[in-house]
Symmetry: C2
């Protein structure tokens, strides 16, 4: 039998085991239809039920108000980097971007190809993205088309714990790596987008939650397929959606609901963060988290060891114990534990125990 694996991958990430087991069990015969869910027409009853349940579950879990629509599109967050300004950044306007890491920079860089932009704030401290700017540090343009933030930064290991107040300017947020980690007030956002492959499901599905009135007023000059309005009008069935990915997302959302909803998820995630940051802070300086304390991410915990050689050894030994994905992003080095919803408290305890032992042996 294969060793039990604890998956700390940054994304695509682990999925809840009961979800995978259910998908496997009904893989060849979905809901007694005799065929796989991925063999069903996206216009047939069997798939449509899954599709609309996934939308309804998202609304229920996040408390999405009637002013907003839940969409499933393709292309990942990287495509939203382009389609957000294509829809909402009109020629005479400028959009604000708060830069807190690699993904914010990529979003800004695509927007610059579409229209005018301003940097409204940064998480950069002497070349390292180790903080989240405070409200008082933001230079917000009161006339901006929107203000864009990256709510959680997978590479830097930082996270917005209080979303900025942008007044009457629409707030747009990339929640790819921390959607569904706890409840949020969706009404505060003009648009939220999130690649599914961290907290929602497999890669290839992008969740978008958008203010319907805003989408209706967006650019009509861009291709129909890239208008959020198109997908609102067609319930995300304008063209063939990634049906199997949406089905998996639906199972993940079902599981989330069954395990206490977002309040349950938040409780578990805070406990996981407490354990892991505790292991770092209690190591007498063997492990160091470079991130400012109030900006620490509860999704991606980054830490350094006394040397790169020890970091390499740490990753190697952890892998032997079935803990995978602990190498930091290639652009920054170090170590990183991504502890999305599917990583259990037990899994995090196992890592913390190993960290303690490793520090004792090598400290």
């Amino acid at each position: 039998m294969t060793q039990q694996v604890v998956n700390f991958n940054a994304g695509p990430a682990g999925l809840p085991r009961p979800v995978l087991e259910r998908a496997q069990a009904e893989f060849l015969d979905f809901a007694g239809t005799g065929i796989s869910v991925m063999e069903h027409s996206h216009r047939g009853k069997a798939y449509e039920k899954v599709h609309f349940e996934a939308i309804a579950l998202t609304k229920e879990l996040l408390g999405v108000p009637d002013t907003h629509a839940v969409l499933f599109v393709q292309g990942g967050a990287s495509q939203c980097f382009a389609t957000v300004p294509m829809n909402f950044l009109l020629p005479e306007q400028s959009a604000d971007y708060v830069i807190t890491g690699t993904w914010s920079k990529k979003a800004l860089s695509e927007a610059k190809l579409i229209g005018q932009t301003k940097v409204a704030g940064t998480g950069d401290v002497e070349g390292n993205f180790i903080k989240i700017p405070k409200q008082s540090e933001l230079k917000l343009d009161a006339n901006a088309a929107y203000c864009h933030i990256t709510s959680n930064n997978t590479i830097a290991g930082t996270q917005w714990h209080n979303f900025p107040n942008t007044g009457s300017v629409k707030l747009v947020a990339d929640l790819s790596s921390d959607i569904m980690w706890k409840k949020i007030d969706v009404s505060k956002f003009g648009l939220i987008y999130a690649g599914a492959q961290k907290n929602i499901g497999p890669s290839g599905v992008t969740m978008v939650i958008v203010d319907k009135a805003w989408a209706a007023a967006a650019s009509q000059k861009i291709p129909v397929i890239f208008r959020y309005q198109t997908h609102i009008e067609n319930d995300s069935l304008y063209n063939t959606p990634p049906t199997f990915g949406i089905y998996m997302a639906k199972l993940v959302l079902d599981h989330l609901k069954e395990t206490g909803g977002l309040d349950g998820a938040e409780k578990r995630n805070r406990e996981k963060g407490r354990i892991l940051y505790g292991a770092i802070d209690g190591s007498g300086g063997f492990y160091k988290c470079p991130v400012e304390t109030d900006a620490r991410s509860l999704m991606n915990v980054v830490f350094r060891l006394p040397s790169e050689a020890l970091e390499e050894q740490f990753v190697k030994e952890s892998e032997k114990l079935g803990m995978i994905g602990l190498k930091g992003h290639r652009s920054v080095g170090g170590c990183r534990a991504s502890i999305y919803n599917a990583v259990t408290v037990e899994g995090v305890k196992q890592l913390a125990d190993f960290m303690g032992e490793f520090a004792r042996k090598n400290g």
Copy 2:
């Protein structure tokens, strides 16, 4: 036990049973790694092997020349309707579109939002798309940015059996519904795109085969994510790809190779067409195929019965026998049997037998 289903869905369509069985068997533990293939990082060894094998298999099966790259992107054919002109239709140019049905019209309509276009030919005969224009009927613009065709028309039931000669103008083809049905000369195309959900795999994956030099010379003003050149330079790993969909495509291509490659597929597909069109033509007029004989599709066989009431009854009775998906597209009515690669000769024989019986009873 569930009745054996024969799946004539137009797409998402059936997948080969051995492929589904293999995916199910390794769903929880891919290649002895202890986790699902969809839980692997797209930058890890386990997934990368799948990814590059899918590309290599496509090259091998289709005989893709070194001048062309094989890409996996997201968004389906509907997104390529937009990204093709975004990349290749520059402001001072015009692109030719041959209109042979709903999907060609949609492709044209997106292109019109980007630049200038001309209709170079049509399959329309008095309001119905029942033919494929002959070479002599095309009005090709020798200076066109490219000439776009839809190789197989799922709704109309027509198919290009000889691709047009566009001289030095790049030929762009939507092969969503007939890629991999037989060998083709890829060198004749500037770009081929195909949503996976008919012959290649589940929905959510789009295969693109593009002339590398042409892609390198395409527009640099569009968002980076929409440039084919971006995906060429990054081996379709610029952003997180739909990893599970590409894995399924890889299994389908493996299966295709094991069952005689594209020569084997062509032989089976011609046999299936012979049986099904034989059942129509041999019915003494009970079944009628509205399509001109030399334009008949070997992927989507459309046919009418003497009345709409009989068509409804036909669909109902066929469903009771486990044959699903035989209702024609909602825009044209009638019946349609989609007989993509995964539909077996046996499955088509079963349908032909039922058609004979139904005609005898109701003729």
